[in-house]
């Protein structure tokens, strides 16, 4: 049995990761997760990551070994969809109390496993380790091993306590658990040359089912989806697949690569977001399957489906293109799937004013540069304050992001669309792309925004009041003020002599010519000659008389 530290080290040493490949030996040892910043960190822990990655397995009981915070605060919060069992939505936790922490929680865990088997009899139980039992030394590997033997049922330890690292690390640790304990432990009922695995696809909002009809049509069978709408038996027998597609490249690359190593299942990284990516992924799948011995006509059939679907999707999106003319979008996704969505949005005619690349790999970034041009506004890390300013200054017409930055956009009265895991719409494949465009249009064209951006009545009134208090209005009301203002008008700009001074001089000395005015005042009489003549001409007779 490897220690957890060794497993983590092993994950960081991922040859399939391009970013890892260019690092020095020392850097690689440090791992790929940035040191978490206390006081300015966001995002989940390793336990969160492990649970997110495995929870979509629908017929498995997911038991969280820890205090109430780990499960009580977080259960039933993901929109993955199931075509069968709903057991995954039932929450199980040992809810450790102080006594358990003093005396150890292993007995409680063992009892909990028995209770679950008595009540639900699931095909397997996944036991998630959390920080506190890890600290007090509860050995979940040993408990799970003992329980598996005693109850003759797979009880799988998912050793990914929160404090070992980030959510992403947790995804990978979950993958390791699958590799160590699940994959390859059962045999499928039958196999076909068209069997594939989808790795890192979570079927959020049932989006997998936007693509599955096309695969069905081509005769491609999803032997196992890890883990969206997945079943234990399927993943346990997934080692018999002919090819694999790595859907969310960051989360489970270790699973795809190690399955290639152990079982010779070739894989490629792809996505079903956007028209081009969907087509490319279908093509790759067909190619890999044919290389592994599937009949070659699959290629031709795939091209036919792609051509039909692309034509359909382009026709469906076409009407929106003029509506999106000149509209600018800001894309903040944490960066995982940025490039595929960038391509999708451009297809619909939106102009991208910026995209985040925080979690993107170097390859992802290159693709974004390729798509958006070299001078694209690529955001490494954006603070909410900057985001708010960007939207307030109307640098973008719509923001697409995950739930966490939702209110930054909405509070700036800006259209916003959820494209992260909590979203309620499915955006995969060709139909999903059309759906995304529809949603963007719905949001952009809503008459609500204009109303919301109007000033409140008191603000409008305050503005009117301010106008009434403007200098012009004040002068109009007060003759003395009007006189002062009139006299303050500059006549000689060169030597700054105002009308009042000149008038006083004319008045005091009865001046009649420009030269005389020049003598008595500081006026230059050059460029202001005309103006002084004007004053002399218009001099009120009363004044002249008084002067005489």
């Amino acid at each position: 049995m490897r220690s957890l530290a060794a497993t983590v080290q092993n994950i960081f040493d991922e040859p399939g990761c391009a970013k890892n490949g260019i690092k020095s030996e020392a850097e690689r040892k440090n791992g790929c997760t940035k040191q978490l910043q206390p006081g300015s960190a966001a995002g989940g822990c390793a336990f969160d990551g492990a649970k997110v990655a495995l929870q979509p397995f629908t017929d498995v009981a997911h038991l969280v070994h820890g205090p109430i915070a780990c499960e009580g605060n977080s259960w039933d919060n993901r929109g993955a969809a199931s075509s069968g069992s709903n057991l995954w939505r039932t929450s199980f936790t040992t809810d450790l109390s102080e006594t358990d922490i003093v005396f150890g929680g292993e007995k409680r865990l063992c009892k909990a496993i028995k209770e679950i088997i008595d009540k639900c009899d699931p095909p397997a139980i996944f036991v998630y380790q959390t920080c506190i039992p890890a600290m007090i030394g509860d050995d979940i590997n040993a408990v799970c091993k003992a329980a598996s033997q005693r109850f003759a049922k797979p009880v799988i330890p998912i050793n990914s306590p929160g404090f070992v690292g980030s959510k992403n690390l947790g995804n990978k640790l979950a993958g390791e658990a699958l590799l160590d304990y699940v994959i390859g432990t059962q045999e499928p009922d039958y196999t076909t040359p068209y069997d594939i695995n989808l790795i890192g696809e979570y079927n959020l909002s049932g989006e997998l089912w936007q693509v599955k009809p096309l695969l069905d049509e081509l005769g491609i069978r999803i032997l196992s989806c890890i883990s969206g709408d997945g079943k234990y038996r399927e993943v346990a027998s997934s080692h018999r697949a002919r090819a694999a597609m790595l859907v969310c490249s960051k989360s489970m690359i270790n699973v795809a690569r190690k399955m290639e190593q152990r079982y010779g299942i070739p894989f490629f990284e792809g996505a079903f977001y956007g028209i081009q990516d969907s087509s490319e992924s279908l093509r790759q799948l067909a190619r890999l399957l044919v290389e592994r011995g599937a009949p070659a006509d699959l290629l031709g059939r795939t091209e036919a489906v792609i051509a039909r679907e692309e034509a359909w999707a382009r026709a469906a999106i076409g009407p929106y293109r003029p509506r999106f003319e000149g509209k600018k979008a800001l894309l903040i996704t944490g960066g995982v799937k940025s490039w595929s969505i960038v391509a999708a949005l451009q297809e619909a005619g939106l102009e991208l004013v910026g995209t985040s690349v925080k979690k993107s790999t170097r390859k992802d970034k290159e693709r974004i540069k390729e798509l958006m041009g070299q001078d694209a506004h690529v955001i490494e890390d954006i603070t909410p304050r900057e985001m708010f300013k960007m939207l307030k200054d109307a640098k973008a017409d719509i923001m697409l992001s995950g739930g966490k930055s939702q209110f930054v956009a909405l509070k700036a009265a800006m259209p916003w669309l959820d494209i992260n895991q909590e979203r309620c719409h499915a955006y995969m494949g060709y139909v999903g792309m059309v759906k995304l465009v529809e949603e963007i249009d719905k949001s952009l064209s809503s008459p609500m925004w204009e109303q919301l951006r109007r000033p409140a009545p008191w603000q409008a009134l305050a503005k009117a009041m301010e106008q009434m208090q403007s200098p012009a209005a004040a002068i109009a009301c007060d003759p003395a003020l009007a006189e002062t203002a009139r006299r303050a008008r500059k006549i000689c700009v060169c030597n700054t002599v105002d009308l009042g001074t000149i008038e006083d001089a004319i008045y005091a000395h009865g001046l009649r010519s420009v030269a005389a005015v020049r003598e008595h005042t500081n006026a230059a009489g050059g460029c202001c000659r005309r103006r002084i003549e004007g004053i002399l001409v218009s001099d009120p007779s009363a004044m002249v008389q008084a002067a005489e």
Binding site: A69, N73, N77, R89, I132, K411
Partner: protein, 469 residues
């Protein structure tokens, strides 16, 4: 007297409970310019944050000391220091509220000592209030964390009145329990102001989480009670605590400042509000305003109209102790039977709940009880949705979290008006459910020979059906 039963299961299924630290953090969210900070690994914060965001549909400030495995072994001093400095530099908060978690409680971080050390090392923090409250995950529940945090805030931030400290009899401190929504707090504010009183709410989540749109982006809370206002609470004439969970905070206030207090365990229902209004009239020396005399009449009328539907219902409620006590009391007063009651943590009110037995348990227990006792109305937070669907029961969502419906922050239950609206909502739910699921059929009352005439569910539904006919 209800019997209180503790759980015997090793495995909690579908938890009702949420953890103490986020209850504590929630209390700090009712302070202006605050940044709540959980001293634990970053998941502790992330889960809590997601939960609050989904409940309020608002941006929520909540930070973490991001304890790693190594930091947990070596002690969390450096993480806490860095977190405070980072927050101080980046978000310029008016106050940082620190809650411990299971991780840091288990390794025994002495946060009070850490804070002293941090203050002595960083003089720039001299004026920044740092309030620490100990809230281990493995003890208590959400409402305990809230209660503890408020008591700590009073202890640390309220100033003792000076020797010549004058009391302002019109100034009233209100310490609301965590079961009150921002809407409830605004309602209470209006009521108190109508009596000419000047209330200070601690915490005031209505100021921060009521869903208003700020002019500027603020990384801390966008409203709530200010630190200065808290400091001056010692000059108030009275303290009103709402919910038994606030008793301790009110006591701390009294010991520190001498302000007398009164606890209102319930503010939902006719009698509790009569008491409340009488009290306000006494302390303000003003008659009860006409507005509330009218509202009382409206509530009485609502009760008359709704008792046909709510009366006789067998209700299953799962909620934190104070909310459970309040809701079940109101429904009991309307003639409903509280048949299944599940709560999260110990409290002195639970044995006074008008039911046979209160279980400290989870939603599986509630579902099981509701099924065996043929309950026909389910009341709990949003996590009860699966149970409600399986049992095919009308389901009223209350408490925290409520993530699958909008307007959680504005659900009202206090005051005559709040109770009236709540009664209408529950009655309408029952009516709609009956219309959809329980239309009479020719065979409705036919029994197979030899079978007992009625099951529990049928008789109660039938009785309600007849009385409106």
């Amino acid at each position: 007297m209800a019997i209180v039963t503790a759980p015997t299961k090793a495995c909690a299924v579908n938890p009702l409970k949420m953890s103490q630290p986020i209850g504590g953090a929630f209390a700090f969210m009712g302070l202006r310019g605050a940044m709540p900070l959980l001293h634990g690994s970053q998941g502790c914060t992330s889960f809590g944050l997601t939960l609050f965001v989904r409940h309020f549909k608002e941006a929520v400030p909540l930070q973490t000391t991001a304890m790693s495995e190594v930091a947990t072994v070596l002690g969390g001093y450096e993480n806490l220091e860095q977190a405070i400095l980072n927050i101080y530099n980046r978000t310029k908060p008016k106050i940082i509220g620190i809650c411990s978690t299971g991780v840091t409680e288990t390794n025994g971080d002495d946060v009070d000592a850490y804070l002293k050390l941090i203050r002595s090392k960083h003089p720039q923090l001299a004026k920044l209030p740092l309030v620490y409250v100990s809230t281990p995950d493995f003890k208590g529940a959400f409402q305990d964390g809230w209660g503890k945090a408020v008591a700590r805030i009073v202890e640390v931030l309220v100033e003792r009145p000076g020797a010549n400290g004058l009391r302002d009899p019109l100034k009233v401190n209100v310490l609301p329990g965590c079961h009150l929504t921002p809407g409830d707090i605004d309602e209470l504010r209006v009521i108190l102001e109508d009596f000419g009183l000047c209330p200070s709410f601690l915490p005031d989540v209505a100021g921060s989480l009521d869903g208003h749109i700020p002019d500027e982006f603020t990384p801390t809370t966008i409203g709530g009670i200010g630190v200065d206002e808290i400091a001056g609470m010692g000059r108030a004439g009275w303290t009103i605590a709402i919910g038994a969970q606030m008793q301790r905070a009110a006591e701390v206030m009294q010991v520190k400042t001498g302000v007398p207090f009164r606890v209102f365990e319930r503010l939902c229902g006719l009698c509790p509000n009569d008491e409340f209004m009488t009290f306000l009239s006494e302390i303000s020396g003003r008659p009860i305003p006409l507005k509330y005399r009218r509202q009382r009449g409206q509530l009485a009328d609502a009760m008359l109209d709704a008792h046909f539907h709510i009366g006789g219902r067998k209700v299953a409620i799962g909620a934190e102790p104070d909310l459970l006590f309040d809701m079940s009391g109101m429904l009991h007063d309307m003639g409903a039977q509280v048949t299944a009651a599940v709560t999260t943590t110990q409290s002195e009110v639970i044995e006074r709940i008008k039911t046979k037995e209160v279980l400290i348990g989870d939603l599986e227990d509630l579902e099981g009880l509701a099924k065996t006792h043929h309950c026909d109305l389910l009341i709990t937070h949003s996590h009860g949705r699966q149970a409600a669907a399986r049992l095919k029961l009308p389901f009223y969502r209350t408490g925290f979290p409520m993530f699958d419906r909008l307007g959680a922050g504005h659900q009202l239950s206090v005051g005559y008006r709040g109770t009236r609206n709540l009664i209408f909502e529950i009655a309408n739910l029952v009516i709609a459910h009956r219309e959809e699921n329980d239309q009479p059929t020719p065979d409705r009352w036919r029994t197979a020979a030899g079978l007992p005439r009625c099951s529990g569910y049928r008789s109660s539904a039938g009785a309600a059906g007849r009385s409106i006919a």
